[in-house]
Amino acid sequence: MMKQELSSAQLEAKKRARDLTTKRIFAQSYLWLLLVLLYAPIVLIIFFSFTRSKVLGNWTGFTFGLYENLFTGYDRVAQVHVDPNMYHALWYTLIIALIAATFATLLGTLAAIGIYNMRQKSRKAIQFMNSIPMINPDILTGISLFLLFVFLGISRGLTTVIIAHVVFCTPYVVLSVMPRLTKMNPNIYEAALDLGATPFQALRKVMMPELWPGMLSGFILSITLSIDDFGVTFFTKGSGGLNTLSTFIYADARKGGLTPELRPLFSLIFLTMLVLLIIINWRAAKQTKMN
């Protein structure tokens, strides 16, 4: 009797455990399905970076040819140079991202300190203005700046693109630095001044060490946003032939054929990011283990 009851309870528990595992397998396979769909185009790009065909989706045999073209700038087989505009676009993408992110980080950090020390009313007003570039879709940011540069008679080019990128990057820097300020002891800056430091010294030696994690994440976010931008760059780059990778791909696609060397280029960018993320995760995991 006793034995029977026990076994029925055991059966019940077993059944429930089995239900849970099926549920879990089902749930996890849903995630993996989404990831497969999400990565399918990327796998396609990487896959076809190992063949020489002009168009994506046409396999003409395995080769590292496109990688060779990418690094030498010359296609030995077709005996033509790789479109130099692609390299210019890559160069400008990096330059614009670095300069814009640097300016955004400096401007945004100072602004965050300022806003943090303001009275409630002006603080609210500036935070509202700060949120406009984040809410505005890139087409509106782009067009409004386009009209400004036309209105002021400034010819569009590298400078206007950098200004435009600072516009949409800085709000994120302000938002990443702000939480560090709330965590910081507000009196240490004054203490530094009382002990004879100039405001600049106090900023550099007392506040910066506390703020730099926020500044760094703001900087990295700015780089990401800048590199990924298309809409704002499109309207502020002018017609002088300046392109970032985004606008280069857009123009290329509209012309019909996509430069084949873009495939190995983005495969390598993707690989670099993957490795970086793995390293960051691995270090974070190690750190939590140590604590």
Partner: protein, 265 residues
């Protein structure tokens, strides 16, 4: 000199450069959209640009169509993204952080290139490039923006509330409907805004995905500035202002709802 250092010493002045920057590069440009929308190319006041929009049935239809597509994209992203975020936040995955990373990583490949690769995928399976392709591509591009904020709120959720609901006799469905779902509304709202805003204003994605077969409102604006020449700028500004209105309304209601949702908690 002493006065100057006193001004610099007061930290609230440190925001002044940025305030100036915001006025010059955010407020003034937006003001210019207003000015251009209500003037002729020679600078006289007019309502002609708006009349032209409302009298062009093609433009009005495109406008309504774009909003419908954006709404549909947002709904599909919510239906697909919520379960994904929920599973990531609640199921005992061995590595939830890695999963979250995996959903963000594709964003590092330029979205135009990913869109073009999607087009190639469609071609390989000979799927026609039309409305379905457009919806798929839009969801594809913006799904991570839905998953991430929902995942964030679900992850921060106090787990003891769920246990308490169970202890008080709620079944699984009730716990979800009455505890988990209300607690995740802030994430849902920001997800909706983060998907709706870019989809209603996109212009490149639709052009590439449908080979210019389907025109969205964003493309209409871009054409006014790109190919229309000087004469079309004022019309383009009027269209931009209409878009700005939509964005303003969405963020206003989103903001209000979000505040309400937070006050519930």
């Amino acid at each position: 000199m002493k006065k100057l250092s006193a001004i610099i010493g007061a930290r609230r002045t440190w925001a002044w450069p940025y305030v100036l920057f915001l006025i010059l590069f955010v407020l003034l440009p937006l003001l210019l959209i207003f000015v251009y929308a209500f003037t002729t190319p020679t600078g006289e006041f007019t309502l002609k640009n708006f009349v032209q929009f409302f009298n062009t049935s093609e433009a009005v239809n495109t406008f309504i169509y774009s909003i419908a597509i954006a709404l549909l994209t947002t709904i599909i992203c919510l239906l697909l993204g919520y379960p994904a975020a929920y599973i990531m936040a609640t199921a005992e995955l061995k590595t939830p952080a890695v999963m979250a990373m995996l959903f963000i990583l594709p964003m590092w490949i330029n979205f135009l290139l990913r869109t073009l690769a999607t087009v190639e995928l469609f071609n390989m399976f000979s799927i026609p490039l039309g409305e379905g392709a457009l919806l798929y591509g839009m969801c594809y591009d913006f799904l991570p923006f839905m998953i991430y904020p929902i995942y964030n709120t679900l992850q921060k959720m106090d787990r003891s509330l769920i246990e308490a609901a169970h202890d008080l006799g709620a079944n699984g469905r009730e716990v979800f409907a009455k505890v988990i779902l209300p607690l995740s509304t802030p994430g849902i709202y920001s997800g909706i805004i983060m998907v709706f805003m870019p989809t209603v204003s996109t212009f490149a994605i639709s052009e590439l995905l449908t080979r210019n077969k389907i025109t969205l409102f964003g493309s209409l604006i871009q054409r006014a500035f790109g190919e229309g020449g000087l004469q079309m700028w004022n019309y383009g500004a009027a269209l931009s202002l209409i878009m700005l209105l939509i964005i303003g309304l969405t963020s206003f209601f989103g903001n209000k709802d979000e505040q309400e949702a937070q006050s519930v908690i």
